[in-house]
Amino acid sequence: MIVEESKTEKKKNLKPYVEVKDLVTQFFTSRGIVKALDKVSFSVYPGEIYGLVGESGCGKSVTSTSVMDLIPDPPGRIISGEIYIDGFNIIADLNKMARIKIKSETDVRIRRYKKAIKRHNNVLSKIRGDKIAMIFQEPFLALNPTMTIGDQIMEVIMLHNISSISNSILRRENISSGEVRNFITEFYSINDETQKRKEVNNFAASYAIQEFEESILSLLATSDDKQYIENEILNMVRENRTGMNIQNIREIKGYFDLQNDIFQNTLRLLQAERNGDSSAIKQFNSELSKLKRIEASSFFLLRLKLKFAYKYVMKEYRKEARRRTLELLTLVNIAGPEVVIDSYPHELSGGMQQRAMIAMSLASNPRMLIADEPTTALDVTTQAQILEIIKDLNKLIGMAVLFITHDLAVIAETCNRVGVMYAGNIVEESSTIEIFNDPKHPYTVGLMSSVPRADKKREKEIKLETIPGTVPNLITPPSGCRFHPRCKFAMDICSLKKPKLVEISERHKVACFLYSDESEVE
């Protein structure tokens, strides 16, 4: 079934969450330079599932890894382009990080600048996992074999969600009767059962008292006496906070808030540097050094403690993180999360591993997920379940998904919009319905007619066709349009110039001279 397009209609005036512009990624190998991506541009809007489809070796995975800037270096590098994640261009400093001197195809000298790379990595580590998460094709390889599933998921929470944990713990410790009263009145004002449950859930989550969720619910169901309920809840929470060192938690919260300030300041500084605004640079620099002074003076002891006794100092946080982990595992339909959380990856089946991966990627509530062929290595029934989970998450949380696959059926099943890739280019981009019903680019047409389809019964006489030839060698890609050697409709210009991705109808883009003017070249 093809997904309805209704939701995407709204997105016209939305800002894209991830925007990739003219991305060029290359690999420098002993056989030559592999021009893996050649000016790839696309955008993913909040809440949509964007599919990238193409033959193997067309650059889908390189695209997804490039978006996270995870291309292994050596041999690969992003050469040029822009990748905006939530409005911030993560690769604006490419030239500051490395100079590439190409002497010949097989002799490339790269000079790397350590300081810039280090700063780049520091900034990116706050973005990766937090704003955008990723799951991989082979979950067994993608999970650390010597860490338990729980530790791996908790790691994400401990990296990105410290302040939210601090807040909920502090709120729990200082819970006031007024707050509880507010919650109760709010609860009684709702009529819908599921909404009521959600309200209790929210309340429990924001005060880190999920273990009482069930008892609060039954309390609310059995009693009508608001005062009694209020007292009960307060007692319940207060009894549980024995032995909690509030001072300690405040200090840790202060430290991580400061870390966050430093990061925000670094971002501002980066932006100022890119704009060349010297006064702003000066201002942010001085602010940054001020913050770092505070870090060095006020948190000297805490930093020492964190360095040598991390697990002990953070034990309250780890407890909370573990609880959240259990919740995440339940969210992705893992049976027996209490057992799974302490098991090692090799003790789980492939489907379970992929679920754990998804749980891990959700741990910090990212607004976008990159799914790099998440179902390819799984068997068919598990595939369907994993797809279902991803779709549900997209619907429930409104998480955007960049879905990469070679499987057209999966695309039809899950995606709102589709980009078709061929040899490092996006050749066509449109809504899923249009791609299937009205493909424009000769490659897409070939792709569509090479799979059997149930919804095209009337064209019984049409046989399954193949696209002649094979995927070109990207060390010496064809000139002009990279598809022209295999194209039935190839013209003279196709081998000379590269067509631009142009909009031929509303939100349907094609890069082909059949549909565009010869002037529209790159």
């Binding site: 292994p72 280090k118 996992g129 991989f136 993608a142 074999p145 790691e155």
Partner: protein, 365 residues
């Protein structure tokens, strides 16, 4: 599978290997004509009457003249009773097992310090250079480890002896005084030519004993004597470990799960510490067995050059025999030391395997 069952299975595999090892030493002993074997057992300096008696003893003890399986069984009981035969050489005279008992602590002390020294250096250094492949420090580290890996250990020992031995008086013999004949067990320990100190308790390892007895002047002397042998042996062990750790680091860095860690937003420092280093160091536990083998082999050479009275020289002495011209190979000495070295190594490998199974959750499956 639980760790318990893994250990039991591992122990079961050990049994045929030990029997095989005993068979090997048995074959070594029986490859030799009976007369030579008996001559080996008998103290050549004894009176004719004693000789005749010892000869008779040897024949009954070895089960000579009986079918081979019976002989093998006799050999097994001998070994179980600690009777590995006798050996006579310029280095040591007496029972082979007693000799091993006497000389083991000296070799063990050197081995312990070598392992500590090389592990302490190779782990930080290996992770450092392995985390920045193809950098300048990596190239230096690689060249260093390659050269020491490829270096003849006897040549290195000689060169160190030449460079430091003369000036620093490190050349004095270290260990027991050997007077050709056996000596009372109470004297086991150290007698230094210059000071006349004599130590035996409690470990029979000179430096450790000196420290335990709070005799620091002696400890300093003992330490000086340890420096060159330990340095020589460490260089080769270290080079091997360094290569292995570096390769492990590079290999682990290319794993998919490291990409996952980065995608999770783990900072580079933690990626290195928490994800790469742990996974890279785990397999190096497995090479410890190989390194101990190299170490014991190296001990033979180093003890020979630095005139250390240890186990390595005992095995060499068994081969050189009384006269030193090869006319009198001490077969029991050869078989006994081979057996003992084999057992040590098997034990090491057993411990290594168990530790590895304990550390790496995957191996138990």
């Amino acid at each position: 599978m639980e760790l318990k069952y893994y250990i039991i299975r591992r122990l079961l595999v050990l049994i045929p290997t030990i029997i095989g090892l005993l068979l090997l030493t048995f074959i070594l002993l029986r490859a030799i004509p009976v007369n030579d074997l008996i001559a080996n057992y008998v103290n050549q300096k004894a009176t004719p009457a004693e000789k005749a008696l010892e000869k008779q003893q040897a024949i009954t003890l070895l089960g000579l003249g009986q079918p081979l399986p019976v002989q093998f069984f006799t050999y097994l009981t001998d070994v179980a009773n600690g009777n590995l035969g006798n050996m006579y050489s310029a280095y040591y005279n007496g029972g082979v097992l007693r000799g091993i008992e006497l000389f083991l602590p000296v070799t063990l002390e050197i081995a312990i310090f070598t392992v500590i020294f090389s592990v302490l250096i190779s782990i930080p250094l290996g992770t450092f250079i392995g985390s920045r492949p193809n950098s300048v420090s990596d190239s230096v580290g690689r060249v260093f480890s390659l050269i020491f890996y490829a270096m003849p250990i006897f040549w290195l020992a000689l060169m160190l002896q030449y460079a430091f031995g003369k000036n620093l008086l490190f050349l004095g013999s270290y260990g027991l005084p050997i007077n050709g004949q056996g000596f009372p067990i109470q004297q086991v320990g150290f007698v230094h030519n210059h000071t006349g100190y004599s130590y035996s308790v409690p470990t029979h390892m000179l430096f450790i004993d000196a420290v335990l007895n709070l005799d620091f002047p002696l400890a300093v002397v003992a330490f000086e004597h340890l420096i060159l042998p330990v340095l020589t042996l460490s260089m080769t062990v270290l080079a091997g470990l360094l290569r292995f750790i570096r390769a492990g680091m590079v290999d682990t860095s290319n794993q998919e799960y490291i990409k996952t860690a980065r995608a999770k937003g783990v900072p580079e420092k933690l990626v290195l510490k928490r994800h790469i280093r742990k996974n890279a160091l785990l397999p190096s536990v497995t090479v410890i067995g190989l390194l101990v083998a190299g170490l014991l082999g190296g001990a033979v050479v180093v003890e020979d050059i630095f005139q250390i009275t240890g186990l390595g020289r005992l095995s060499l002495a068994a081969i050189t025999g009384t006269s030193g011209n090869g006319a009198n190979i001490q077969f029991f000495g050869v078989a006994g030391t081979v057996l003992f070295f084999g057992l040590i190594l098997m034990l090491t490998n057993l411990i290594v395997d168990i530790v590895y199974a304990f550390l790496d959750p995957r191996i138990r499956y």
